[in-house]
């Protein structure tokens, strides 16, 4: 894939601190509302959220194309707000690539060096280093309109890296590409990050992209940061209902905490879930007050599903329900089942397919099934975002 040995000693980049940044458009619309975060040196950090959530605004503020109404942005411990974009040690990979149509791929990459009026030999050496990094040797003398989407993307990345920025800002760089190509480029991007070693700030609305490459993710909605954490933390312990729904798929219900006690490192709570007509055992990383109104969430792939004449393995704090398969959806490596419980509530269940012999009897439409999950697999989230 990427020949990472071609790039010289990695620079470590800078840490980026966003302090209480607020940006208001048109007098009332808060694109960013008191946003704070600290992005570590050399980190691959993602800003994840639905379109219009403010993530691109934040990126543009860091790049210098927009300025906040209040708050500050620091590279290491220096405020950069007073610097114009060309004076900041950040470079951007734009969503639409923004390649200069009148210049070849080579000249696009050389653009920052030409501005510095470096001599031809130095320019050529440095351009070729990055041309090889992104594997564009064959195409470097083509104009952007002769390049495919993936190739344009590589030019954009090489051009953004050639100034050896301490922060690389990526604004949905893969969104214009088809799914397969996106996966390949994502892996390459990760390799480039490992070798170049500078801080990457990656804006995306695609949760699977963010989960697969990021060191940490900030989930943003309506201009507010809802949660900052590793992909594991965000998926397994979402802070709010929005995060739980936005990342992956989930079943989510209103609940009231009935009891809550220390249980190993975590807390074991019994909650009343009106939608399921029953009480459910669930663990949480934080203690919860008795009587608190929360949301209970269980990921579909963490629910076990068997035909109801089979036995569910018995253990403590196991939640078991009976139901009828309302809608089985076969999708290759897994099947999705929409299971209708006795009270009419539908629960999503994903079953990972295994080898033919281990897969158990086939579950079909209208089959009676038992579904079960362990308390540790459920999670409690805050109701309001």
């Amino acid at each position: 894939m990427v020949d990472v040995s071609l790039v010289s000693t990695p620079k470590k980049g800078v840490s980026v601190t966003v302090a209480n940044v607020t940006r208001v458009y048109g007098g009332s619309f808060k694109a960013l509302d008191d946003v704070s975060m600290k992005i570590e040196k050399g980190e691959f950090f993602s800003l994840l959220g639905p379109s219009g959530c403010g993530k691109t605004t934040l990126l543009r503020i860091i790049a210098g194309f927009d300025s906040p109404d209040s708050g500050d942005v620091f590279f290491d411990d220096k405020s950069i707000l007073s610097l114009p974009p060309e004076k900041r040690s950040s470079n951007t990979v734009f969503q639409t690539y923004a390649l200069f149509p009148h210049l070849t791929a080579y000249e696009n990459i050389a653009f920052p060096l030409r501005l510095k009026k470096l001599d031809e030999k130095t320019v050529d050496e440095r351009v070729m280093k990055y041309v090889r990094l992104v594997q564009l040797d064959e195409h470097m003398h083509k104009k952007p309109n002769m390049l495919s989407g993936g190739q344009k993307q590589r030019v954009a990345i090489a051009r953004a890296l050639i100034n050896e920025p301490s922060v690389l800002l990526l604004d949905e760089p893969l969104s214009a590409l088809d799914a397969k190509l996106r996966q390949n480029l994502l892996v390459e991007l990760d390799e480039i990050h490992d070798k170049v070693g500078v801080t990457f700030i990656y804006v995306t609305h695609d949760q699977s992209e963010a989960l697969s490459v990021s060191d940490r993710i900030a989930i943003i909605n309506h201009g507010k940061v809802l949660q900052i954490g590793t992909p594991y933390e965000i998926y397994e312990a979402p802070a709010t209902e929005f995060v739980a729904r936005f990342i992956g798929e989930t079943n989510i219900y209103d609940c009231t905490v009935l009891s809550c006690e220390q249980y190993g490192d975590e807390y074991m709570c019994l909650v009343d879930v009106p939608a399921l007509d029953t009480k459910v055992w669930v663990t949480d990383w934080d203690p919860q007050d008795v009587g608190a109104e929360l949301k209970f969430t269980i990921r579909p792939e963490k629910i076990q599903i068997v035909l109801s004449d089979e036995k569910v393995a018995h253990m403590d704090h196991l939640n078991v329900f009976k139901g009828i398969v309302d809608e089985p959806v076969y999708s290759g490596f897994q099947s999705k089942f929409y299971v209708k419980l006795a009270n009419g509530e539908t629960v999503k269940v994903f079953k990972q397919h295994s080898t033919f012999l281990d897969d158990g009897p086939e579950i079909e439409w209208k089959d009676s099934v038992s579904i079960a999950w362990r308390a540790v697999d459920g999670y409690l989230v805050k109701e309001k975002d």
């Binding site: 790049a63 210098g64 060309e86 734009f94 923004a98 009148h102 501005l115 309109n145």
Partner: protein, 302 residues
């Protein structure tokens, strides 16, 4: 086999479809132009008209110092006015392209076209003359005590020429700036260019075709301008267009008028060829786009 016949038939069909255009152009463009070229190589008749004899005297007459100074004046006035037109058009078009009231601004540029150009020139005469609006205003404000001579000189010719042909410069430049991807300027800034450098290195090369069109669209009519120097120019601001009219109507030297017209036509044609070359490059770029699309499709299949 069938394909070859089809191709031959489609060529014939193509000619027949375009024949009305061909006939129209022959009658109203090629024939008159040929007559002018023919006249320019004939001897002048005593009371106008021409004598059917070959002569290049008309072309020799152009080198009369009086005429040469007029040609030179025409050239510098047109070049200067064109340059100012373009310099005004770029920021204007930029503002229009970025404005939310684009349609309104576009209408404001186009609406003056609906008024006869003579009327607009007379409006300027009223505005600029010694007793005109501008001088009266400045005098009543006490800024000046004597009227400025704003009219019947080179200044007024250049001013009114710019006014007349500004829309011809704004429209093509507006069209390219409107299509311009402004994120390219962000990209240039991001990569270390100052505002000015990103304009020079990124914006200008990408709107070049519009600027070329604007150059030709303004320079050609200005170079052949007739009514503006006649109505607002002074004794010494006659341009080539005025010579031609004088030679036809007053001096009655038709071959000389024809030879000047031929010169004007050649200058215009050079301009048109230049524009066609620029636009051909753009067509080539579109073709490249198609090829790229196909390679991309192939790649996607792989």
């Amino acid at each position: 086999m069938g394909r070859r016949i089809d191709k031959k038939r489609s060529v014939i069909l193509g000619y027949s479809y375009s024949s009305p255009m061909g006939i129209w152009l022959s009658i109203f463009f090629v024939v008159p132009l040929s007559i002018i070229v023919a006249y320019s190589f004939m001897k002048k008749g005593l009371y106008g008209g021409v004598i059917n004899e070959f002569s290049i005297k008309a072309y020799k007459d152009i080198f009369n110092p009086n005429f040469l100074s007029t040609v030179w004046r025409t050239l510098w006035i047109s070049v200067l006015s064109t340059a100012i037109c373009i310099l005004i058009s770029i920021p204007c078009s930029y503002a229009m392209a970025r404005s939310k009231r684009q349609t309104l601004l576009l209408a404001l540029v186009i609406i003056p076209f609906w008024t006869n150009s003579l009327i607009r020139i007379y409006a300027w005469i009223n505005f600029l003359s010694t007793e005109g609006f501008f001088n009266n205003l400045l005098m009543s404000l006490g800024i000046i005590s004597e009227p400025l001579s704003l009219i019947y000189n080179h200044f007024s010719v250049i001013l009114v020429l710019i006014y007349m042909y500004l829309p011809f410069a704004i429209l093509p430049i507006f069209t390219v700036i409107d299509k311009f991807d402004f994120s390219l300027l962000d990209a240039a800034r991001d990569l270390g260019a100052t505002k000015f450098m990103s304009f020079i290195k990124v914006m200008i090369p990408n709107i070049k075709s519009g600027i070329t069109t604007a150059l030709v669209f303004t320079f050609i009519p200005m170079f052949g301008a007739y009514e503006v120097p006649l109505l607002v120019g002074g004794m010494d601001s006659a341009m080539v267009g005025n010579i031609i009219v004088d030679q036809v109507q007053k001096t009655r030297n038709w071959p000389l008028a024809a030879s000047f017209s031929v010169i004007l036509t050649i200058v215009s044609m050079i301009g048109v060829i230049w524009v066609m070359r620029t636009s051909r490059n753009e067509v080539k770029m579109k073709k490249d786009n198609k090829i790229a699309e196909e390679t991309f499709k192939k790649e996607a299949k792989v």
